[in-house]
């Protein structure tokens, strides 16, 4: 199951990771961070993007 959305200010992702997430269309609030104390890394974002690409699209 996807992790619960965290309040935006608690999303711990550096500026470059946030930019990458925008480029790949990833919502950071739904990414589970694997860095120290749950920080979100570039790899986490890339993994989430790859999952988005393969996941079945929900019905519109």
């Amino acid at each position: 199951p996807p992790p619960q959305a965290a309040p935006a200010i608690l999303v711990r992702a550096p500026p470059r990771v946030r930019r990458l997430a925008r480029q790949l269309g990833v919502d950071l609030a739904r990414v589970r961070g694997t860095g120290p104390r749950g920080a979100i890394t570039e790899d986490d974002v890339r993994r989430a993007a790859a999952m988005l690409a393969t996941a079945p699209k929900p019905e519109a």
């Binding site: 608690l10 711990r12 550096p14």
Partner: protein, 464 residues
């Protein structure tokens, strides 16, 4: 009619960086400015005030040292001319910069129609994309309109060449307290009148307290919950009645009571750009889009917080968007704000109240800084302090607030900490140079972790 890929209206911090960034991306850019390049910040704001505060601060720091004899005398006219030259230098720098990037600078007041900017006295230019960086102007009070002789706003005051004997500052916000700090140290008898119950009413209470105490110690008279009741203009002075104070003569009056967006009579309504009640342009905070395709706004004209460094980044984002980069966004978690009083006050991120209101299980740790050698023993600040606000579970830094010498310099590290998602441990384990004010970040983080090496830990806080 010449046509540009991008026209930027306004040459301040919200404007010129947009022109530069767009030119770097290969766009054909024009910038329209009706006054001096650099905007309010360079010409009437950030730069002249900090220039004024520089010698004033040196004089005050020296005066605090008992073994320094003799007396220095600041030639007021010379000082104001130097401030002028500093401003000109920075403004010329913006001009050189724009020329270097091939940006066409068009002088005059702009009015905007769809696809066309009409510039007073310079004809019309066409645009594909538009960045509105119109900024703000000083608000005024009926009866206290600036005359450039006795009654001033932040623009006309820079024309002062004779040192006022007695000066009234109307408005106790950051502009008012910065001017009070500078002028008092230059030997002017300063009075501040503030409507609300404290100076810096928009900031945290402990900041107000530090500033009020220091200004009073330097001879500034502070009247809160007061206002100007009546003004009689005379030849070279004015008689002003302040509630609870009575009538007094002042050689100069600075009105610093707020800002008004420059959005009137520019054609924005017809363009379809939406304004909020106060007249600021409504934008998407992340993309800086106004809702009208191809039209962006950046800087103070998008509403508070009115800060040059926020305008810089907004300008860059607007330019990148205009150049077609759909990943560009203003998503800063940390916008620092500084008041250049003595001690300097700086704040970034959330206060404890803001963090809790956002639903975070947050805590705050406060550290008095007098026992940091650089702050207490050397610079002599007894009332300086730092506070860190953090998330209890992850220990991520959410906010940092500091009153100290050079707070304007150390706040950037706190901004980086918040942007990077740094935790208390990260700050505590980063080596900070000794002796420095920046040690405050490490020490307050250690204290929050209950393992400070320079403070005696007691239940419920630190004491040394």
């Amino acid at each position: 009619m010449e046509r540009f890929d991008l026209v930027v209206v306004g040459g301040g911090p919200g404007g010129y960086p947009a022109a530069v960034r767009a030119a770097q991306e290969g766009l054909n850019v024009a910038l329209v400015e009706m006054d001096s390049l650099g905007g309010e910040c360079t010409n009437y704001g950030c730069i002249p005030t900090k220039a004024l505060l520089h010698p004033a601060g040196l004089v005050a720091s020296l005066a605090r040292l008992k073994f320094v004899k003799g007396s220095v005398d600041v030639d007021f006219k010379g000082l104001m001319e130097w401030v002028d030259s500093v401003v000109k230098g920075v403004s010329n720098g913006v001009s050189t910069l724009l020329k270097g990037y091939g940006v066409e600078v068009v002088k005059g007041r702009a009015k905007i129609r769809p696809g066309v900017v009409e510039v007073d006295g310079s004809g019309s230019i066409g645009y594909s994309k538009l960045v509105l960086a119109l900024g703000t102007s000083p608000a005024s009070i009926p009866g206290l309109e600036p005359d450039g002789e006795v009654v001033h706003n932040n623009r006309t005051i820079l024309g002062l060449r004779r040192k006022p004997g007695r000066m009234l500052i109307v408005g106790g916000g950051y502009i008012g307290v910065e001017y009070a700090t500078a002028m008092a140290r230059l030997g002017v008898e300063v009075t501040i009148v503030e409507l609300l119950d404290r100076l810096l009413p928009n900031m945290q209470r402990d900041f107000s307290r530090v500033v009020e105490r220091r200004l009073r110690a330097e001879g500034v008279k502070i009247h809160t919950k007061s206002k100007v009741e009546a003004v009689e203009r005379r030849e070279r002075y004015a008689v002003v009645e302040v509630s609870g104070v009575g009538k007094m003569e002042y050689d100069a009056i600075l009105v610093a009571v707020g800002r008004r967006p420059n959005t009137g009579d520019v054609g924005l309504e017809k363009l379809g750009v939406k304004l909020d009640k106060a007249g600021y342009i409504q934008v998407d905070g992340a993309t800086l889009e106004t809702g009208v395709p191809g039209v962006y706004a950046s800087g103070d004209v998008t509403g508070p917080p009115l800060l040059a460094h926020r305008a810089f980044l907004q300008a860059v984002v607007a330019a990148e968007r205009a150049a077609g980069d759909s990943s560009a966004a203003f998503d800063a978690k940390a916008v620092p704000a500084v008041v250049y009083t003595d001690p300097e006050l700086a704040t970034v991120g959330l206060t404890l109240e803001e963090a809790r209101a956002a639903g975070v299980d947050a805590a705050e740790t406060r550290l008095p800084l007098a026992s940091l050698p650089r702050v207490g023993a050397i610079e002599g600040c007894r009332e300086c302090f730092a506070k860190v606000v953090y998330d209890r579970s992850s220990r991520a830094i959410l906010g940092f607030h500091v009153a100290a010498p050079h707070a304007s310099e150390i706040i950037a590290e706190a901004a980086l900490a918040i942007e990077m998602g740094a935790t208390l441990e990260d700050l505590a384990l980063t080596i900070h140079p000794h002796p420095s004010v920046s040690e405050a970040l490490k020490e307050v983080a250690e204290l929050a972790l209950e393992r400070p090496i320079h403070y005696i830990l007691r239940r419920g806080g630190a004491r040394r």
